[in-house]
Subunit: 190 residues, 2 copies
């Protein structure tokens, strides 16, 4: 079994996760193996963008192990609540999607219990869970080829930086005459 | 002028930014001063969550300088296209909002040109811009007190981890019977 996650040992990656994320979250440790499996299957000389299909945990695995961050926009979150990551060539859209494969969890009771939230978090056996995650490595994952429709990602360049005539705040805009927050009040403060 | 950004010198923070983000993005350097100003005005003993009002650059300043990350959900992006950050007590909602104040940019021509995208990026004077950002520090920012309506943030606990009957994929759900991607096709790949 490959216990390494990119250039890290499992334990070293755990330390990186604790420093960045605040705790050694099981989801990020599995996410590390997901990134590792993706890189084993991607051409070494291409530039990849990524999508996380959940906002929880997985984005931090991507940010720690790849050049993709939320702020540089090479990582996007499209939150459909799935524990899956996609990596794709930013020009061709060709790439891979990795997901935790629940049909492979039979022999990993702690991972199964954690993933399906069968018991409250405080009753979980974290050390047992992390041991199973390390031992299982990439074997609980499924990888499939994908082709991302780049047009659907809808990358609009910022056309202008106007002052909103309603709130008088400056905002970046690809289109539109008043700012998104005035269009439909979405910020939870004034 | 305070050239420090939290515990870093301007140059040390720049190195951190380059390693994480891929380049010393001007927006993140200003973001560093925004985080610094926020922390000067927040009680030292509270636990703060954060909101970035843009998906570009600023989230990475928060992730590098605070315990808040996208993956641990202490940082949320509510993209209204504004160059602003909010930090608030996760229990009371009390906090501060920091924005780049365009009315204070008169004496900083490089920052003004960059912020309002007055010339193409490749014609920008990056060194001159970074020098102005360092010199300006927190003086180009405005801080206001806010009270976040925590109910509007709508944190729903994951109630279950069902298998979607349409696509047969597992997803996390607070409600709903089929997964978000099948409800309204939002992922740009099958």
């Amino acid at each position: 079994m490959n216990y390494r996650i990119r250039s890290y040992t499992f334990e070293d990656f755990g330390n990186q996760v604790r420093l960045f994320h605040g705790s050694i979250a099981p989801g990020i440790m599995i996410g590390g193996f997901m990134v590792d499996l993706a890189y084993q299957n991607l051409p070494a000389d291409s530039i990849f963008d990524s999508i996380s299909e959940t906002a929880k945990c997985l984005p931090d695995a991507v940010q720690l192990l790849t050049p993709c961050t939320i702020g540089n926009r090479w990582l996007k979150i499209i939150n459909v609540g799935r524990f899956a990551l996609a990596f794709y060539d930013k020009y061709s859209g060709e790439g891979v999607r990795i997901q935790l494969d629940y049909s492979k969890l039979n022999q990993w009771p702690e991972i199964n219990t954690w993933f399906f939230k069968l018991i409250p978090k405080k009753e979980q056996n974290l050390q047992g869970l992390l041991s199973e995650i390390k031992e299982a490595g990439t074997t609980i994952l499924t990888i499939t080829g994908i082709k991302v429709n780049l047009e659907l990602l809808g990358k609009k360049a910022t056309a202008s930086v106007p002052v909103c005539p309603v709130c008088n705040k400056v905002y970046q805009s690809a289109d539109g005459f008043i700012c998104p927050d005035c269009c439909s009040k979405i910020l939870p403060y004034a």
